[in-house]
Every structure is written in structure tokens, then in C-alpha cells.
């Protein structure tokens, strides 16, 4: 047996242990949470608008992302902007998952989750803060939201605020549409926006 054979034999003698590894990863997430070093916890849930990435800090939900955005890219951006101490840790997202499931079942019209707003600032943050004032099942134009936000001329900036909403679905930028009644853009794609508005219309 030469050294390469021995390397192969060693690799075989110490195989991967996928089940055990997955238990260890769960245990790591729990320990990290307990020691206060889990800066961002995330999970991916299924929804009628495709897989949704939910991410939370200890302050609250910080990001909801559609598959269209690329979940890996979103996690990298969280690593860059918030902290690279990021683990898949579904426990912290239990409440968010429950409320979002209820929303998609048509049983929840407003969200009561704690939110971490640090990915949004300035006028964009102001705009997003006003969006919950558009009630479930209703829509408002970009101009109307500009008015609500105290800057009637900032219609384009309202569009940008909606397009960069870090918490879509939960912060209802999907209820902002064009003045002519057409839907306008959406972070999750036009199909997702249509699905959300149709759902709300039916369940309102």
C-alpha cells in the first residue's frame, strides 16, 4: 500500500456523517443564540410567491427576500452590511413564519412582528413607515404615498423606496401602484405583486 492508498483508506475510515453533522449544526445555532453571538438568524419558507428568505437580528425581522433576488446574494449582503455571524436558525423566525403563513392563508391583515429597520434610512425609511397606513385589500398611488410621506413631489423617490424595501410582504409596498391603475414594479417580480393583491382582494 503506498501513501496514496493509505490516504484513500483513511478517507474511507473517516467518512462524512451527514445526519450527525446536521444535529451538530442545530446544536451550534442554539449555542450561538444562547451566547449572544448569532447576529443574524435565517430560514427559508415556502409561500404562494415562492421560497421566501426570512432573516432576523435580536432586534427583529430585518429582511424578507424573494428567490428572484438570489438568497445567497441577500445573505452575502447581510454579511457585509450587518454581520457575517449568520446561521440558518429557524427558531428565531418562528413568530415571523407563523404570521406570514397566516397572512397567506388570508387570516392575518396586519403584522405585529418586531422589525429591525437598519437596512433602510432617511426618506426611504419614512416612506416605508407610512405604507401600513394603506389598509389590507386597498392600494395607493406612488403620488399618494409621496403626499402621505410629507413630500408630495418625491414620487420617484417613493418608487425607489418601494423597490428597495428590505421587508416586502410584511411592509406592504405591494399596495403601491401606478396612478393609471397598472401595477408598477416589484422586488419579487410583477407576478408576485399580482398574487399578493389578488389574495388581499379575495380575503378582505
Amino acid at each position: 500500500m503506498n501513501a496514496d492508498d493509505m490516504a484513500g483508506a483513511l478517507a474511507q475510515a473517516f467518512p462524512g456523517h451527514p445526519d450527525q453533522l446536521s444535529q451538530l449544526r442545530t446544536r451550534l445555532a442554539d449555542a450561538a443564540q444562547q451566547d449572544g453571538v448569532l447576529d443574524v438568524a435565517y430560514r427559508v419558507i415556502d409561500s404562494p410567491v415562492g421560497p421566501l428568505l426570512l432573516a432576523a437580528t435580536d432586534q427583529g425581522l430585518i429582511r424578507v427576500a424573494f428567490a428572484l433576488e438570489g438568497h445567497d446574494a441577500v445573505l452575502q449582503s447581510l454579511a457585509d452590511k450587518v454581520s457575517p455571524r449568520i446561521l440558518s436558525a429557524p427558531g428565531r423566525l418562528d413568530a415571523a413564519t407563523r404570521e406570514i403563513d397566516e397572512y397567506f392563508a388570508g387570516r392575518r391583515h396586519t403584522f405585529g412582528l418586531p422589525l429591525d429597520w437598519r437596512l433602510s434610512a432617511g426618506f426611504r425609511r419614512t416612506v416605508l413607515g407610512h405604507l401600513p397606513e394603506i389598509g389590507y385589500g386597498h392600494t395607493a398611488s406612488y403620488a399618494a404615498v409621496a403626499q402621505l410621506s410629507g413630500s408630495p413631489k418625491a414620487v420617484r423617490a417613493v418608487g425607489t423606496a418601494c423597490a428597495t424595501n428590505p421587508l416586502p410582504v410584511v411592509v406592504p409596498c405591494h399596495r403601491v401602484i401606478r396612478a393609471d391603475g397598472s401595477m408598477g414594479g416589484y422586488r419579487g417580480g410583477p407576478e408576485a405583486k399580482r398574487t399578493l393583491l389578488t389574495l388581499e382582494e379575495a380575503a378582505a
Binding site: A9, A11, L21, L24, R25, P84, R85, L87, S88
Partner: protein
């Protein structure tokens, strides 16, 4: 600007290798604790890891220290035994590392035999073999972990491999060579592997 990847992808990329290294150094019973301590400690320090650092070498370095801690803690708990380690060492010779009821020979347990044989090597040899052959670190990195020169690390690994060949007579070694049955190349026995020492947690 893109900085460090999320720690989750570090665990995905290196979790399995670090577990194999922990099993090689400590045996299966203590490997879980060492793995957990390693990754929790790595997570804490991760934001301060210099960009461009060799993440696998960094993790193996932490695992090396954690394995020493785990072994020391186990030694404090253990009942003293007459058997002494082959070399005075902080890592090798954990009590109970001999499996008295291990069947002699037999192809199906050959991998467990080799795993046991590695776990019983003198510390430096075992570490050099594990870090080079299982983790794939170059000898310069192994030397940085163990202290000493890359040449010394290479020698320790070579000595370890030579000793493994003696305690695990592989192909061409003559006596009691385990037959390489067709199944061995691709699959493993379906029966659960039994821990060779201690009680599993």
C-alpha cells in the same frame, strides 16, 4: 463591496472535514464536543479573521486546541488506568481507547480498525496524519499548528503512516490482509458503526 461569506457557508464548506479531524484525533465519543466548541469559538472570532485568511487551516488550528481541552477535561473525569500513553502527550492516549471486544480481522470492520489505529497513534503523528491526509493541509500549515518545521511535520506524518501500515496490514502486507470486496469500493456496511470507546452521548 463583498466581504466575508456568511458563517453558515463556512460551516457548509468545512463542517464535515473538521468533524472527520475531530474523530481522528479524539475518537467518536468526544468528537462532537470538540466540533461544537470549535465552531462556536470560530463564530465568535469570525468578524476579526483577516480577509483572505485560509479558513480551513484556521478551523483546524482551533479544533487542535479544542481537542486538547476536551482530552484534558476527559482525563480529569476519568478513573486512572494502568496503561500509559505511548508518548507523554496532551492529546493521545485517552483512557479507554483500546477496544477489548474488537473482532480480529474481518473485512467489514477494517475501516473501524484503521480509525482506531489512527486514534491510538502518538499525538504528533496522529495530528500530522489527520491534518495533512484528512484535512488536506500542506505541511507548512501543519507545522504552524504543531510547532516545528514543515520537514518535521512531514516526518511525523510519514512515521504515523508507517506505524498505521504495521498495525493495519493493508494490501500487499501479507498476513491477514482484509479482502477488498467489490462493495468496499463504493458502499459501507448498512449496520450502524459502533463507537469503539466510551458511551455515546
Amino acid at each position: 463591496m463583498t466581504g466575508k461569506p456568511p458563517f453558515e457557508s463556512v460551516v457548509s464548506a468545512h463542517g464535515s472535514t473538521v468533524l472527520r479531524v475531530c474523530r481522528a484525533i479524539l475518537g467518536p465519543a468526544d468528537a462532537d464536543d470538540a466540533w461544537s466548541e470549535t465552531f462556536l469559538s470560530a463564530l465568535k472570532a469570525y468578524p476579526d479573521l483577516p480577509a483572505g485568511a485560509n479558513v480551513e487551516a484556521w478551523l483546524v488550528t482551533i479544533a487542535h486546541r479544542k481537542a486538547i481541552d476536551v482530552t484534558r477535561a476527559a482525563a480529569r473525569r476519568a478513573i486512572p488506568v494502568a496503561e500509559t500513553p505511548e508518548t507523554p502527550s496532551t492529546v493521545s492516549g485517552a483512557p479507554g481507547s483500546q477496544a477489548p471486544d474488537r473482532p480480529a480481522g474481518g473485512g467489514l470492520v477494517a475501516d473501524d480498525d484503521l480509525a482506531d489505529a489512527l486514534t491510538r497513534l502518538p499525538a504528533k503523528q496522529k495530528q500530522a496524519v489527520a491534518y495533512h491526509y484528512l484535512a488536506g493541509l500542506p505541511y507548512a500549515d501543519v507545522a504552524a499548528i504543531l510547532g516545528g518545521t514543515a520537514e518535521a511535520a512531514r516526518r511525523a506524518a510519514a512515521d504515523g503512516i508507517a506505524r498505521l501500515r504495521r498495525s493495519y496490514p493493508g494490501a500487499g502486507a501479507g498476513r491477514a490482509a482484509p479482502p477488498r470486496t467489490p462493495g468496499r469500493a463504493t458502499g459501507r456496511p448498512a449496520a450502524p458503526r459502533t463507537a469503539s470507546k466510551g458511551a455515546s452521548p
